[in-house]
């Protein structure tokens, strides 16, 4: 193990100095079989080049910070094992389809606005008081929306989505999956308030059903399914008699 090496090629971009992104190559020890791409970046930052910039925190696939393009595929770098790429070089780039702030750091403000726009909170006609206790909900009712609640906002699906790549007005996979998460929750009555956003020109109808979002999701969420189901929601609104539209 001691003398194995791995080459990491990574995007460098500092808007203070660089006109456009460039690639830089680092050859570092492949020091442990359990090493992930994030470990390789940390090795570079600690030992070779302190100026390399990227986001990371939990290194266990749940905080959603460390999404990057690894050899052209959107991945959580904490869960991309070097051994799966070695001995060939690994190309690490910022997530596709986003403006780049610096090196591997993308600007995700756009998603934060989209997240808010779908009203990702429980909407009730009338709140029940805390003293009345919890809403009753069965595990089966939770199963209806469970997978959509597993989204970690890592942005891999946006990086994989060709529609978002062409038109960043598109609401996009994660935001639609989260809207679906609330619409399917037996405690929620907010479908009507969310429909204008998801039925909008830039909502679900933009999706051309490529399905890449579901392929790259590291958490087993199926945004493509959420989008197709939401299309049905938006049509049903116009088909059902008025009294059944809530």
């Amino acid at each position: 193990m001691a003398d194995k090496r791995i080459t990491i090629q990574t995007t460098r971009y500092d808007p203070d100095k660089d006109e456009k992104p460039r690639l830089q190559s680092y050859e570092i020890p492949f020091y442990d079989d359990s090493m992930v791409v994030l470990d390789a970046l940390n090795y570079i930052k600690s030992n070779v080049d302190g100026s390399l910039s990227y986001r990371w925190s939990c290194r266990m696939g749940i905080c959603g910070s460390c999404g990057m393009m690894v050899n052209g595929t959107p991945k959580l770098s904490c869960s991309a094992f070097v051994r799966d790429y070695w001995p060939r070089p690994i190309l690490v780039e910022p997530l596709n389809n986003f403006p780049v702030i610096r090196d591997l750091v993308i600007d995700m403000d756009d998603f934060m606005h989209k997240l808010k726009s779908i009203k990702p909170w429980i909407i009730r006609k009338q709140e029940i008081p805390l003293g009345a206790g919890e809403h009753r909900q069965t595990n089966e009712q939770i199963d209806d929306f469970r997978q959509f609640s597993e989204c970690i906002n890592c942005m891999l699906c946006y990086a994989a989505c060709p529609v978002y790549g062409l038109n960043n007005e598109f609401l996009g996979p994660a935001a639609i999956a989260l809207a679906r998460r609330y619409n399917l929750d037996s405690r929620d009555q907010g479908l009507k308030q969310r429909l204008p956003v998801i039925a909008d020109n830039e909502g679900v109808w933009e999706c051309s059903f490529v399905g890449e979002c579901s392929v790259v999701c590291p958490k087993g969420v199926d945004p493509a399914k959420a989008i197709q189901q939401s299309k049905l929601d938006t049509t049903m609104r116009f088909v059902l008699p008025y009294g059944n539209r809530d």
Binding site: D14, P15, D16, K17, D32, D33, S34, K45, S46, N47, D49, G50, S51, S53, Y54, R55, W56, S57, C58, R59, M60, G61, I62, C63, G64, S65, S79, I101, R102, D103, V105, M108, M112, L115, K119, P120, W121, I122, E127, I128, L130, G133, E134, H135, R136, Q137, T138, N139, I142, F145, R146, S149, E150, I152, N153, L178, Y182, D185, R187, D188
Partner: protein, 570 residues
């Protein structure tokens, strides 16, 4: 340089911080709340909490039982008035989380379910499968988006508290995207910055857990309480330190040594795998020392075995553990035991704060892991911390909102001067620094290994003295660091350096507090003083900054009510 002003400013966007922000707004809808965090809130380390949140919600449970378990778990160092308030508020807070959309796992009747947990005498740990922290954080964060009174400053790194006439009036923060220093002023400030696990090499904590808030308060003259009380979780994955939840044992998993023996019968015979974390971690270390651990490429380990639970239970209750096993160890936990060993996990100690989160400094509050309100004493029970974030986050939010309604506005003049001084300090100390040779990464790694060695599961006088000396040496070397990155844009070498500065400081407070406590209590196990000494040390330690090498220590009596200290056996 901008000059934002709020009524209440929350530092930290995890469970405690967001809960505080919402509580402030709900206390007084006219309150303007700012929330500054060095990461997007959903990246906060709450996200990694797995097992559950404790509350006496079930009819067979009682406040008194939850309180007694917590006090006994704390080895009698918890303040009992605080525990009492906590156990009464926790059920309300978990119901509130339910109303906010947390997908709690349910009983067949549709009510919130619960599971057994270490040190708890009944099933009171409510859970959302084994991603409880993740679901709570996303639910509370997404809910916070509906309050127009809350303004977020994401990815802003706080470097200093603004203090005017002994009152906290805001923070100086570095906007990471632009490199600009901002004074963000407020009539009150709530620190909710989480833990300090990254002072250790082997930790469950994420990269962001660098004790920033504790250090900020300490530098401003506020005491840090019980800093010797560091929790080691029994079950971390070797190499990465990734947390394997206590819920694995709660659901019936076994801890086994290399003889296939459930060795806890020799340590906690009545509780076995459901003993408290401090005692089980020591038992595991003892097994290693006595040659009953497995030897692996990443050190010694023991087995955590869930095979007998069956695939159905595992997939329903512990799906994330199966995922982690597959992803990070390459095993299927349905078919193979999980390799585990004790790992730094949580800080009981923290910013001295009272039952409402108020610190001794006017206008400054603290909540969550960075605070020590007196709930956890010398050992926190698993699943009390998520509930603590809610209960004391909400308490701090209410108290800060009330304080701000009556407080004088902040004056611009001194604030401006502090801002300029602080921006200049950082430029001189880091960005314009010439001729340094020491790598941040190297100093950080050495600090982490020294902390593992000197302030780990077992401590000694010699080990702690050596640690203090070594930390002093690292502090000296820190003065000669080399910063390669001079960019204004998202300069993570600069923020890493400032985090290391914070960590070197609080590591020293841990070592000094641990050296002074010549007894063994809860998580603080001294080989040279193996007994608890109530006569001398039934007291909180408080450490104050005097000069970096020699902090000042004080002690304060523990608040005892109904539960008189007795021998702690399980």
């Amino acid at each position: 340089m901008d000059f934002e002003s709020y009524d209440v400013l929350v530092v930290g966007g995890g469970l405690a911080g967001i809960r505080a922000a919402i509580a402030a707004v709900e206390t007084n809808p006219r309150v303007k709340v700012g929330m500054v965090s060095k990461v997007y809130p959903m990246r906060s380390h709450t996200v990694s909490a797995e097992g559950g949140a404790a509350a006496a919600l079930r009819p067979e449970d009682s406040y008194e039982n939850h309180a007694f378990d917590t006090v006994k778990g704390s080895d009698y160092l918890a303040d009992q008035d605080v525990v009492e308030a906590f156990v009464r508020e926790a059920p309300i807070e978990l119901i509130q989380m339910e109303h906010w959309g947390c997908p709690w796992s349910r009983d067949p009747d549709g009510k919130i379910s619960a599971r057994p947990f270490g040190g708890m005498t009944t099933w009171r740990t409510c859970f959302a499968a084994d991603k409880t922290g993740f679901h709570m954080l996303h639910a509370v964060f997404q809910t916070s988006l509906k309050y127009p009174q809350i303004t977020r400053h994401d990815e802003a790194f706080v470097t200093k508290l603004l203090v005017e006439d002994s009152r906290c009036v805001g923070v100086v923060a570095l906007d990471m995207k632009t490199g600009r220093f901002d004074a963000i002023t407020a009539k009150s400030v709530i620190l909710a910055t989480g833990g300090l696990g990254r002072t250790y090499a082997f930790t469950t904590n994420g990269n962001i857990c660098t004790g920033d808030g504790m250090s900020l308060a300490y530098r401003a003259g506020v005491g840090l309480k019980d800093m010797e009380m560091v929790q080691f979780h029994p079950t971390g994955l070797p190499f990465t330190g990734i947390l394997i939840t206590e819920a694995v044992r709660g659901e019936g998993g076994y801890l086994l040594n290399n003889e296939g023996e459930r060795f806890l019968k020799r340590y906690v015979p009545n509780k076995m795998e459901l003993g408290p974390r401090d005692i089980i971690s020591r038992a595991m270390m003892t097994e290693f020392e006595e040659g009953r651990g497995f030897e692996g490429p990443h050190g010694k380990y023991l087995h955590l075995d869930v095979r007998h639970l069956g695939e159905k239970v595992i997939d329903r209750k512990l799906p994330f553990m199966r995922e982690l096993g597959r992803e990070f160890v390459g095993i299927d936990i349905v078919k193979e035991p999980i390799p585990v060993r004790p790992v730094q996990h949580y800080m009981m100690g923290g910013i001295d704060a009272d039952i409402s989160g108020a610190t001794p400094m006017a206008g400054l509050y603290a909540a969550g892991e960075c605070a020590n309100v007196g709930l956890n004493g010398a050992n926190r029970l698993g699943s009390n911390s998520l509930s603590e974030c809610l209960v004391f986050g909400a308490a701090a939010g209410r108290a800060a909102a009330d304080y701000s309604s009556a407080a004088k506005p902040v004056t611009a003049n001194p604030v401006d001067a502090i801002l300029w001084d602080e921006a200049r300090r950082v430029e001189v100390a880091y960005l314009e620094k010439k001729g340094g040779s020491e790598r941040i990464g190297a100093i950080r790694e050495e600090m982490q290994h020294e902390m593992d060695a000197g302030a780990g599961v077992f401590r000694t006088k010699e080990g702690l003295q050596k640690l203090i000396e070594r930390l002093g040496g690292l502090r000296e070397r820190f003065g000669r660091i080399k910063i390669e990155d001079t960019s204004k844009t998202f300069n993570t070498e600069l923020t890493s350096a400032m985090e290391l500065d914070f960590m070197l400081e609080i590591s020293q407070t841990i070592a000094v507090s641990a050296l002074a406590r010549e007894e063994s209590r809860g998580a603080h196990a001294r080989r040279d003083f193996p007994q608890r000494n109530d006569e001398k040390y039934l007291k909180h330690s408080l450490v104050f900054s005097r000069d970096a090498a020699k902090p000042r220590l004080e002690y304060r009596d523990v608040h005892i009510e109904n539960f008189k200290p007795q021998a702690r056996t399980y």
